[in-house]
Amino acid sequence: EAGVAQSPRYKIIEKRQSVAFWCNPISGHATLYWYQQILGQGPKLLIQFQNNGVVDDSQLPKDRFSAERLKGVDSTLKIQPAKLEDSAVYLCASSLVGLWETQYFGPGTRLLVL
């Protein structure tokens, strides 16, 4: 069974630029999560989708971050414009509906904002 795929693995941009991350969850997993993990901290949930609907985006900085999950499969997370404090690893995870406690994580995208 293929795991959660994410791309790119690494990205370096300058502040005020835009960046987008892509995630392909495990086949059949209707629930998809985006987390932000800042160095030295644990992952923090940014947004949760069930199919193509948003379940929770209370911790998403909506003035600069956006996410979509068209067709309920792949998802993209965008930052526009980026700030220095957005430097982090962005993790995507997926789970079966109702099995939120068993989330499968992708390898993450490491973002450095200069």
């Binding site: 644990g42 992952p43 923090k44 949760q48 929770d56 989330q103 993450g108």
Partner: protein, 114 residues
Amino acid sequence: DQQVKQNSPSLSVQEGRISILNCDYTNSMFDYFLWYKKYPAEGPTFLISISSIKDKNEDGRFTVFLNKSAKHLSLHIVPSQPGDSAVYFCAASERDFGNEKLTFGTGTRLTIIP
């Protein structure tokens, strides 16, 4: 406001001995707790969990203990093996009927010394 705390950033243990990783939480509404393990350049992987109705859950070499009155949980690994060297995250959630979200601690880096 760190609701889940792992006060030891790092821990070194001799191979074959017991590793004990600790986690404290402040939110009394948390009723489900998990441990995740993370290798470098990979996403976290689920290790073991415990519901608040239990005080112990065991899976092979891994045992999680929960002390609700102290708002404390611990992960015991016996015997420790070199492959256990990783960062361990404690996570917690409160029941929200399909809208559960995980709150992670800051992680403890475990190093097993051969």
